[in-house]
Every structure is written in C-alpha cells, then in structure tokens.
Subunit: 336 residues, 6 copies
C-alpha cells in the first residue's frame, strides 16, 4: 500500500499554548502519510510513502520518524535543502474542554510541494512492486499548482495496474484560503475523483452524528456516484463535538447502494483528536485489504479512530488486538 | 489600567502532589496582578502593576514573568532582599476529580506586605499617566497591617483623577485565619468599599450557580448599595463544583438596578481552576474599558474565565478571538 | 502492621504507550506492599515489608522507594543479584477513555519468588515486635512454588501471636496462565484462607457495582464462611468501568452477618486506577486498627481508593484529612 | 538603543541531535536582536527591536520572548501570516567536545525579509525618541534583496539624528551561499559601512586568538579605515576553538589608532557558544553608552561573551554584577 | 549518630538560571542534615535529624526527603505552619565554568529557627538511645538568637553521655551579614567550641590547596587547641577552584599533633559542588565510627567529597564500594 | 550486512544515579546490534539484525527502536512472552568525572538466549540475499549454552557464501562471572575464531593508549594469527581513561603484517562512552565495505567512536560528513 503526500513534523506544546510555550514535543504527521503509517505500524501491512524532503537535519528527522513507523522510505525524493526548499512543519495544540485545538501550519515552499509529474517512477511502484492500494487526497493536492497533476498521474497508473485508489477530500482552509477556498478545492477534487475507487468524505454532506440520517447519506452518495460513476465506496466519519475533550463518534460507508454504519461511540474522552480521520481511513482500508466484510471494515475504522483520540500525536500506536477488543465491546478494564 | 497587589511565584507539581513532588513548574500569580496581566496579555491593554519585590534572584524571576506578560514593570518598588524581606511564593496543586486543589502559601514578610502610605507616587500614576482604571482587593489588604492604608490612599487618588476603581473581595483564609478571619476581613473591606466603583464578589451572597436566583442577587446588591451608595457595579461569578475536573460556570453583574447574566456553561472540563475569578474580572473590565455594553462585558468575563480553566497556571493565554468565539457559541472544532 | 509480598518497580510511560515510549517515570508498586505503604505514608502507622530483593542498583532503587514511603526496610532479605536472581519490574500504561490500561510484567526469577520457609524469623516479627496485623495475598502466592508455603508459615505464626491476618485474593492472569489459571489460583487460596481473619475479594461474586445486591453478597459471604469458618470479615470493592477515565466506585464488607456498604461514588474521574484495590484495603485496615467502627472502615477504604485513582502511580499520597473530607462529602473546592 | 534585525525562534534538542530528537526547547535568537536583548535584560538599558513578524501563533511566541526580554515591542511590524509570510526559525545543536555545533536555518520568506524602505518611521524612532545607538548587521542585510536598503535608510537617519551606528559583519553561509557567497556579502557590507561608526568584525583579519598580533590587527583596521574613513571603532572577538566544549576567548578593539585588548580567557568551559559574539557586542556597547573607558568596554564585552557561553540559549541571563566580578578576576566560588 | 540542623528544600533550575527559569528540580539540603543523610544513605549508619518543620505541604515534602534518605524522622518537631512559621527553602544554581554557583536563601522565620532550649529531650536521645556521635555547626547556630543555646544544650548532654561531638564552622554570609558578619559568627562559634571534640574548618586558616603547608596547618591547629584544649580532631577540606566545573580537592586532619592528609585530586570535573564539604565530614565521621584509622578517615572523607561533586543535589548517592574504589585509585572505567 | 546478537533496551537515568532515579530515558543497545545499527543509520548501508524477542510490549518497544534505526526487522524471531521468556534490558549511568559509568544488566532468560541451531535460515540470509558481511561476538555467545553453537552455525554458512565474518571478543564480566569468567569466555571465543576473518580486540594485549607499542601489537597479532591462521584482520581500540568525562582515544588494525593506526585523539570530552567500541567496529567495517583503504577504515572507525562518545545512548547519530570532517581535522566550529 502506497500513500502520496507530505510528511510533516508536528510540534506540540502538550498542555501549554503554542504562543507561550518553552518546549515542544515532536511527532510525525500529514494526512495521507498518516494512513500509510497506521497501515504499517498498527495493521502491520507493507506500506511506502511517496513524498519529497529537503536534505537537512529536519528532513532527516522526518525520515527518522518514517523509519520508526516502519514505512518504506526508499521512494522518498531528496532535494537539496535551501532557502526555498523546506520541510513542512506544523504547530498544534490538542485543545482541552472549551478550548478548541489550534494549529499553525508552516508548509510554504516545501520540497513535496515542488514535486512534478514525471519525477516518480509510478510504473515501477505499481507494476513491479505489486502495490495493491494507492491513497492520496485533498491535502496533497492543495500544496501547490503542481501536486494535482502528480496525484492524477499516480492515480491513473495505479488503476492501470489494478491497485485500488482511495482519495480523502480533507479540506484544509489554511491551504486554500488564498487560492479560492473550498470552491476551488472542490473543483480540483472533482478533476481527480474520476480516477478514485474509494472516497473519504462526501461533498455536501453534514457529517455531524446528531444529524445523521441514512437516507440523506444515500442521497449524497448517489449524487457523487452520479458525478463519478466509477466510485465504488464512499465513506465518512460521523462526529459530534461536545468539547475538545469529549466527542461522539461513528462512521459510515456505502458500496453498491448498501450502507454499513459502525456503532456509535458516545462521550468518547478525547486526548488528541488530530489524525482520527486518517485513523478511520487506515482501519477501513485494512479491513478491505485483509478481505474482511464491509461491516468489519467500517467498525475497524471507527474503533481505530476512537483509539487514536486517546493518545498524543496524529497517530495511534494501537494494536490490532486492542482495536478488535473495542469492536467487540470489551470494556476498559486492566489486564495484568 | 493599574493593579495594586502582590506578584507571587507559583510552584506547581503538575500531575503530582506537593508533598511528594521532585520538580515544580513555576508560573506567576497573585489575584490583583492576574487582572492586570490578562488585560495586557489577553486583551492587549496597557497595564502596570504596583507592587514591591525583594531584589534577589527570586524577585528578578518574578520580574521576568511580569515582563513576559507585557505588564509595565516601571512602578515596581525594589527592596533589598534579606532575612525578613522576601518574595511571596505559593505551592498549588490543581486537583483532579475527587481530589480538590490544594495550596500552601508562603507569603510572610514579603516586600509587598511592607508597603506603606507615601511610598508610591499615586499622583503621577493617575494624573500624569492618564490611568483609566484602578484595581485592588481583599488579598492585597490582607497581607499586613499597612496594606489597607496603601489601598485606601490609592483608591482615593484614583477616584480623584477620574479613574474607575474596582475592588475584589477575594477572601483568603490563609491570610486572615490568625487575625480574626472572615469577619475582620469584611470589616476592612467595608472601610475600603466606599472608595470603589466596582466590586467583585458580594457579601452574604450564595454564589453557587445551582442556587442562583436573580431576586436574591438583586437583594444582596441592594443591601451593598445601601451600605456603599457610590458602588456602581457589583459582579460575581456563579459556580457549581461537581469535581475538581468539572464545574458549571456562569457570571452575573448588576448596575443601576439592571441585572446582566452570562449564559451558563455546564460541565466545563477543568484543567486548573485557579485564577478563573481573576480572569472573569479582567474580561468584564475589558468590556467596560472597550466601551462594550454590560451584557458583552459579563459574557466576556465568563468566557474568559472558562478558557482560563482549560490551561495550566493562574492565567490564560487565550486570545480575544478565542473568547469571542466562545461567547458566540463556536464549538471546539479544530481549525487547520 | 506487616505485609509479605513483592516490591516492584513500576515503569510508566505517562501519556505515551509502552511500545513507543522514549522515557519512563518510575514508581514503586506491588499489591501486598501497597497496603503497607499506604498504612505508613497515608495513615501514619508503623509498617514493615517482608520481601527479598537482589542486591544491585535496581534493588537499591526499590529500597529507596520503600524508605521514601516510610515503611520499615529492616526485614528485607538481600540476595546476591545475578543472572537468575532479579528484581521484579512491570510496565504499565494507565489508559485513557476507551483505551484500557495495559501492562507488561517482568517478574520471573525474582529474589522474592525464591523465598523459602524458614528464612524469615516470623517469631521475632510477631512475638517480639508486637505486630498487630499481617497482610498477604494471591499475588505473592502466585510468584512461585515456594511462596504459598512462606505465606502459610507467616499466617500461622501471626495468628498464634494474636495478630489479625488479612488476605487479598487478587487474581493476576499473568502469574497463573501457565500454571492452571484461576482454578489453580483458587485452589491455593483455599489452602491459605483457613489461616485468614479478613479476606479481600470474594470467590464467585460479581463485583460490578451495577450488579450489586446485598443478598447476593450475603450469600457469597456465607458460602465462604461455610468453607472457612474462621473468616471474620469479607470485603470487596464494587466497581463499574465506564471507561478508563471514568468509573463508579463503592465498597462493601460483611462481618458477623452484618453488611456495611460505603456510599456510591458515581462518575469518578480516573487518572490511574492501578492500586485502588490496595488503597481500599489499607483504608479499611486503618479503620480497624484505629478502632473505628465498620461503617467508618469501609467508607475510609472507599474514599481512599477514590483518591488513589486521582493521581499517578499505584499509590496515593492522600492525607487522612483529605480522606475524611471526602467521607464527609466535602466538595472539590480549593482551600487557600 | 535600537536594533534592526530578525527575531528568530531557536529550537534546541538539548543533549540530543536534531535529526533524532523527540522534543525541543525553544529560545529566542537572531544576531542583531540578541544585542538589543542583552542590553535590555543584562545591562538594563531601554532598547527596542525593529523587525516584522507574521501574526500567527509562532509570531506571538516570538513576541512573548521579546516581552520577557524587556525589549520594546511597539515597533514590531505585524504582517498577516500566510503561505508565504513566515516567521523565522532555526534548529541548533550546541555541540559537545569533538562534535561541532550544527544548525538548520529555516528563514525563507519571513515577514522581516519582506521589509521595504519607507515602512518604518525612522524619523520618529531617532528624532522623537532620542535613541542614542542603532545596531544592525550582515545577517539582516543577507535576508533578502530589500533588507540592505532598509538598513541603509535606517543608518542614514540614525546618523542624521546623532545616534551612534554599529554594524556587525556577521557572515552566515546559509544566507549567502546561493547568492554569491562571502564576496557578495562583503560587497553589500561595503555599501553600508560608510554609514557606520562602529564595526564588529574585520574584513581579511584572522580572528584566531593564537594568531593574534597587535600589529596585524592595526593594519587590518587601518585598511578598513582607509576604505571607510568615518569608522570610529573596530572591534573583534578573538577565539581559539579547542573543542565545542573548550575555547580560549579574548577580544580587541581599536579607536583613534589605539588598541584595547581584553585579558585572555583560556580553556573556557563552553556550554553553548551560539550568541557569544552578540554578547560581546552588547557588552562593548554598554560600556560606551555608560560612558566607561574603552578598556572597560572591551573587557565588559569579553566577560559577557564568556558568561554567555556558560548557559543554554543564544543569550545570557548574566547580571552586571556577575560580569564585573569576572572582569575583576573573581573566581567561581559559591556565595551563600 | 544524630545531627541538629535545618532540613531545607533546595530548588534547582538545573542548566538554567534561577531568575529566568520556568521549572525547578527539588532536593533536600542543609549543612548539618547533609552529614546525617550521607551517614545513613551512603554509609548505612543509623542516624537521626533533630529539627523542626512547619506542618504543611512543604514540611511534609521535606519529611518525604528525610524518609527517602533513611534518616530517622521521629525526633522532628512539628509546628503549626502559619504566616510566621515557615519551612526553609533555598534556590541554587550549580554554576558552569566561569559562571559561579549562585544561591538565594529564603529561611527567615523557619520552624527550626524557633527552637528553644528545653524543647528537645536530649537525655532520651543520648542516654537511652545510645547515640555515639552528635553533629551540629555554624549554620544552625546562625539561624536565630535561640539556636546557639539549643546547640550548647545538646553538645553538653552529648558529651555527658559519651557521644563524640563534632562541629562544622561553616560560615554563611547570608545568615550573618545583618548581625555582625564573620566576627560575630566566630564569637558564637567560640562559645560552643569548648563542647566539641571534632571541628570541621579552622579559624584563620587558608584552605586553598595551592597554599597548603603542613606547618601552617599545624600552627592553626595548635592555636585552636590552645583556645579549646578539649578539641581532639581538627579537619579541613583543601580546595582550589579553577572554575565552577573544575576543582582541585584534598583534605587534611590533625589529631594529637599528627597530621593526616588525603591524596590530592587534581582537575576534578565538578557537576555540583554544593554539599561537598558536608560529604567530607560524613566520610571522616564514618571512618571514625567504623573504627578505621585516621588516614582511612580523611581519605574516605576526601573521596566521598569528590564523588559528591559528580552528581546533582547537595548529597551524593555514592556507595561505599565506589568510595573505596576511588580511595584505592581505581579508574573511571565502566563495569559491565 | 547482518549482525547476530541481542537487542537490549537501555534505561538511562541521565544525570541521576540508577538507585535513586525517578525517571529513565530509554535507548536501544546491544554490542553486536549496535554495529548493524550504525552501519544502517550512520553509514546508510542495508543491514539486518538476527535476534529473538519476546512478543510483548517491551519486545515491540525494542522493535520500534530497530525500525527507527533503519535496520531490517524481518529476521527477528518472535517468541511468546511469558514468565521465562523475557526481553533483555539494562540500566546504565554514563558516569561523570571521577564517578565511573555503572551498569545493571537484567538479561536472564531472554528470548535471544534461547535461540538454538536450526532455527534461523542462514542459507537464505547469506545465499539468497547476497549478504556481504556477518558480525557477531563475545556478548552474544555469552548469553547461554546454546548461543555459541548458533554463532558457529552462522559463521560457517557466512564464510561458505563468501561473506566476511567479523567477531568482537567483547568480554562482559556480568555474563561470565558465574560460569568461569574470562578463561571460559576465551575458550569459547577460541572455538569460534577459526571461522572469523576479522577480530575486534586481541587476547593478551594491553589496549591502553599510553602503553601502545607497534611491536607489541604486532606480536599479539602474530600470536593470534598463529593460533587462527585464517584471521585476516585484527583491530583494536586504544584508550586512556583520565576520568569518565575525559579519554584519550585511538585505534589500530593489522592486516597481512601491516599496521594501520589512526591518529590520537587526546583529551576527548566524553558525554557517554558506552558503545564507542561498537562505533569503532562499524566505522572500520564501513571503510572496508565501501572499499576504502585500511588507513581510511581505521581512521573512520576511530573518528566515529570519538563522535559516539559525544552524545547520549549507546549509539551515535553522527553523519558520514561529520565523521569525514573529524578525520580531516576540521575543528569544532559552528556552521550556520
């Protein structure tokens, strides 16, 4: 399984605020990368990340994290680090109670945003390596003018070689606000969705759990299916945010007109929600790669997302056993 | 805006207990100072602190915090540090769930407690600098025999120059228990309230949110107004403590017989409640200094108090944008 | 008061997961030891721990913790540390929300597991020192083939000298799963219960608070009493685990056919639940040693258990004043 | 005293390496800023920083540090933070023994690099505020195409209003290597030196202490004086690097043909050398602002530089008393 | 062995400066206490501390450290903590290279300074408990007007019961500077030395190692012996401070006219020198209590002092084996 | 390149002592593994570790480190973790000045010690994967009765397939002291050396740098060559330990009668010396794998060893550029 996207360094002030902190924990992050990371670290699948990094101490720190995750680093494109070829970083507070999570992205002129078509040997990746799944999404394509083309190139080659292509809509206002906002983002997504088999997120769908209605979801799905007839699966998290520390969570997917909805997790105590959407995607992809049924896949994604919210960083370090326990309703008792 | 009070160093064992800790985070604190600090750091107003510090490494550490807060340090009176001229410190645990916050104050013989009338050039502060608001309160006047006189001197000069004078009743048992307790504290407060325009807290008023009744509040206010006819505004937080980690919070003020009550925040997840009363005061003062209406002021104070409870230390590092978002009911979703 | 059991070093990754951590806090732990520790540190009773440690840096670290706890170290048996005489350690995550606490015990071939009958001068401990209470339990007897005999030897000598003997059933799957599991554990417990006056835990009793029924508890007690007619007191915690961060908690004991149940603590915010059962035992024992009545003892145990869940580590650093406040329903307001 | 330059956030992995770290301490830094910072924090002079920051959480963090330093923040230009208007950060390891300090600067497209002539009201700064000293240097002018012009504009206005202008040559390879290297840097410096009274560093001078020769220094000075006849003072540190942890240090200045050399500090134990050149500059400027003689000034600069190397971060938190003690040869005994 | 003196909490900013720190490690300290602590923790002797503490969270933290040290706490006098009965604390930086250690003591109105004659049952301590050694010194007697009398009372009772009495001159300027300085301190020491058998430090003796001359030491000793004929042993450290990070160290004692000098430790790398004098005293006392010869005792003291300088805090956690290895010249190779 | 040996978790109390620490950093370590780790992480060669781990949270933590190192984990043998199948851990203090490093190994009954012949598919590793170098040594063979046979099996298969076999004598007293000590260790080494091409360490050779004499080294080499005629290269570090914080370091190797000695590094400031021997081995192996000459190889090993001593943990995170700089005598100046 291969992801195309940015590997970011996440600087986290833990209990403090960014603007008054005096030290930061570092984690790895990045929406598309997180999916590959969880598939490797949690679900023990072979995955690789396609990205570019500037070859300086920060780029090597990013690589150090990718190694730790067990994600294949051999397809990383290394650029000379210099004034205008950077590595992406972001600062994020996880929030607490009434205080919302807050972020400060600093990803201008990153090496990955300078990727161009023709630089990556997609043929080798998909044909020779037998990659079965390809994932990218709206964060990567928002990085620059050139990244949508790189994504398209990859998606086409992936499909040509029989890999499943998933795409996460993932709108980030910080990326788009100066180039046309959500409308332009959607326009670009629309250019790429014809090459996707699976989409995470749905255009014009209210993903609040309290508003969930199977029929409305079906309608949104049918509308997308109408527009992109090759889409096979559409999946979405469903969430209700009571406070930064307490969410309701569920997830849903639809395929061939049939809806599969995970159970509802009410009043989930949230340590750090960032990355839980990616955790859902990885769990669902795992279910399908492992040839489980759709109900398993969506439950697996939802349970993984819930666990991902219980620990610091974008990513969970959950184990498959923990996920399956949660799917089966095991309580939070201690084993010893 | 100018506050008169002690700048304390707060030693905080974070998750641990004071009596078994092996390291402490340090913060700045002090009831009256906290108000000036938030007005500077959060609300971006020019403020100064009138206090005294012993000139040793701890005093300079306190000054380092005041600088960081952006509060004017030029009126700090520096004393030779010595055996009997100390800087005030306190140790505080923030509590968790059923475990209440706990404190150990060590503020005997502090430089600030030795302030005497005639030492501060109030005339310069209020007349020449055009200070618009003066704040002090029951913690400062409880520090020693001489501090009530210093407070009176300042309040009179402030009013004479057209500054608004606010006074926070703020009873601290650790200060008064050896000198007559709440009764003596109230007696001294009563000597000073004639020179106040705004009072935080109300004598003989039950400030539990579950017991709030507009009529009772009005009666308490009228009683105080009867005793201190020049009082223009009386304000109070309203709180229900379910556990150290969960409060209900609201606030109320009355002016010219009209009651303004903030919305109720139920089941607020509390990280550290210490200083939330001061946060309320600063928010309300901001509203009035910025010439917003009373409803805005009380909502602003309440929202700021709620945010102050979501982060470590006496003080919040909230931004005005965050406060206004909370006032407008924005949820705790992440922006990115 | 004297406990027989292992002193373990607990390595705790705090907010992180064990399998991805880069640093660990260390605490002391060990079920039977925890009881002696709380009686010394919290309840200010003279206690001693009977155990063995390998004489290397880790053993001395364990001793350093025992000193800190104020528990008498003079009866610790020191063995030469070597390849096959180790000190017990365990790794534990406290869990959060939907993520259950997780542990990894590493207590093979520990010095304490090699204790044999005849090594400890029980006569001196009970006869000459006037020890009034002896405690051990199912964790210690699960350590090796020899430890049940050591426990029996001690219990007999304790009773002979008029000390009260308490025994905590405390099943640990990690100790028993390779030697017959719960059935064998129960069989060994049954060999020792004839020498106990007080038992913590009950065989074949559902300790979920939501399932509590006084009659069922009485029946379970009567059944045990039938089997072990010398048992005088049977006590149990009652717990409902909503999530790793939220429990309901209560406790109950029965003596001479009379049931004493503590009040119910609902929705207790849990920081770290490990050791709360031992905290209950210590509180109940304190009540009886201090010659309070049974209702006090069970309430004291329950309140102490609740406080123990509010702080890191196996053990609380609560004070008796805090426990009594909680027993009397004092809220979680700050004193200052 | 006013400095023109960048305020950087310094991310420091403490004992670790950048490329394998998992947390970072943050400090403030920036060559020209450091001089203003020390003059404020250490030497207690009124100073201001002229810079620009992007208005996001990182910019506010930089401001938080400037406040803490006691440097006036009122002339900071705030830009909207966005994809291409960043705040400068850098990562630095302090080195140890044979391992040299290492850095990774990330200062592309910073707000300060986008400063243009006409944006800062230099007239107000120098004429109305009575600023007595202006400092800038080769780092600031290396930031972009526009910064040399901003520096020139400021230097001319400063001189016009009678302020002393100092300029630190400070070559940074990371800034210049893609635009012509040291040669181009020198060319730009040469365009600005006509407007400087004091220069730190000397073109074509070997600043190794072991190679120091008063005559050679005089010749280098005369050569510069020949080229820039208005230069009044030329100063340089003299250093011999035995290892990252041990330097010899001295300093020298020349004015009106007279050389003043500080004593030699041999085998100085170095904790963190970064910023020691700036510390020298601040000490020398202090001496001159305080109207001490040149020997005092150069000794003060050297002693401050030595103390700056004993603590973490770019900047010292030394006190004037400590500096004077070191100048007078007081040993490193403890006072208590 | 019993010490009379203050147990202080030491707040240590580690690599930072006190006046800009944001967190502090805590250690226990106090000159006379340190001697009892090392005799217990390092040399495994039974020791007790006679002191007073205010009964609040800080006093209990001090007690927690005393427990950890393995020093008997049963003779601690507990006072009600209040405005004017405090626990002593101090802040200390360990220094680095050219930056000297710096301290800020805050020990006014401590519980221990309020000790009065008649409060401690010295008879029980010395007669019934068979205490063999009593230690106090110039720090304790400098705490207040009453402490010299308490010391005298104890010394007399100790000698009456056959215990050896040692006294450390230990001048602290912070204690004496407002009451007459070193002259008054010496005068009070002179009132107490008649009751001492062993004195650490020598009046009018230059303790710099580079100035050491056996004859001068003999003369100083003879002068003291002339004044205090009952003195049996006079001992002193000998030190040369190259920098805060590098000392030469040695020690010497004289008894019955015979001088015993330890070997010289040259260029000792110093992590934290505070407490090394107390470490010397404890090593020498250990040698004598263990009935080793004088050469052993002074070598043991010197080696322990050197090891104490290699680790943080006032006290070492050295083992006897480590001390003996160093005495025998074992190098610093790793054993594994 | 493939190593056979144990992956240990290293628990490091940083500045503290093990026996009084309250938290530990964790690193990976293990003599033979360290060589593979550096070849991967520092020298960017493809390497794998052959080992066994118990499948529990600690084993997965070890794996997490191996991933981070970029060492291939696919040949790790996973055992069920249980009472008697553990993962190896050790505690180590790095020492400071006169305080030697100290360790406490806890590696009884580890999964790796239970490896047996026939379990690893050496044929696949050497024949199919084209492995060019195999490394193991005296630590691995000291783990149990069965490990020498596993080593022999591997060495024979490696040589059969043309891989170079290196063996590090690496005596560890903690492993051998109960089974015959150095003599038995040497006997087992002698059984394996016939299958080695390269040996690190020399029997009966004084490796102190101050005692180095080319002739003596040649004699020791010839003696070993006489005994093991197939040995092609013999290499050794040369070290002089002035204190835990200061070593002299060099290295030497001999091949075909020709001696290659690195330059001498005098007064190397040592942060943590543990693992520097392994760092030397990795550097030398790198030189040979990269087909540099012998002088390069031994200089590369020595420089890497020196850099490894400048940072925490067993392993360096040096870069090849840093190593080459040091080899070429570049000073420790900062690049920026």
């Amino acid at each position: 399984m291969v992801s195309l996207g940015e590997v970011l360094l996440r600087f986290d002030p833990e209990n403090e605020r960014i603007h008054t902190a005096r030290s930061f924990r570092v984690f790895d992050g990045g929406a598309e990368y997180n999916v590959a990371r969880s598939l490797a670290k949690v679900f023990r699948r072979q995955t690789a990340i396609i990205t570019a990094l500037a070859d300086n101490a920060l780029g090597r720190l990013a690589e150090d994290f990718v190694f730790q995750a067990g994600v294949d680093t051999s397809e990383i494109v290394w650029r000379d680090g210099g004034t205008d070829t950077r590595n992406g970083i972001y600062f994020i507070e996880r929030g607490f109670g009434l205080r919302a999570p807050a972020s400060c992205f600093d990803r201008a002129n990153t090496a990955v945003s300078q990727l161009k078509t023709g630089e990556i040997n997609w043929h080798e990746i998909f044909d020779q390596n037998g990659t079965r799944w390809f994932h990218t999404g709206g964060v990567f394509v928002g990085l620059s003018e050139t990244t949508p083309d790189v994504a398209r190139e990859a998606m086409i080659e992936a499909q040509k070689n029989g890999a499943i292509v998933s795409y996460d809509l993932n709108y980030r206002d910080s990326l788009w606000k100066n180039k046309g906002g959500r409308e332009v983002a959607n326009a670009i997504n629309r250019e790429l969705l014809p090459f996707a088999d699976v989409v995470f997120g749905a255009i014009d769908f209210d993903a609040r759990l309290s508003q969930f209605d199977a029929e409305k979801f079906r309608q949104a799905a049918e509308k997308m299916k109408g527009e992109f007839p090759d889409l096979k699966i559409m999946a979405s998290t469903l969430r209700e945010i009571h406070s930064a520390s307490r969410h309701d969570f569920s997830a849903v997917c639809i395929t061939e007109g049939e809806i599969f909805k995970s159970k509802n997790y009410k009043n989930v105590e949230v340590f750090d929600r960032v990355g839980s959407g990616d955790a859902f995607a990885s769990g669902l992809i795992y279910g399908l790669l492992a040839e489980k049924d759709f109900q398993f896949a969506v439950e697996c994604g939802a349970a993984h997302a819930c666990l991902a919210m219980t620990a610091p960083g974008d990513n969970s370090a959950a184990t498959l056993a923990e996920i399956e326990n949660l799917m089966q309703g095991a309580g939070a008792n201690v084993k010893r």
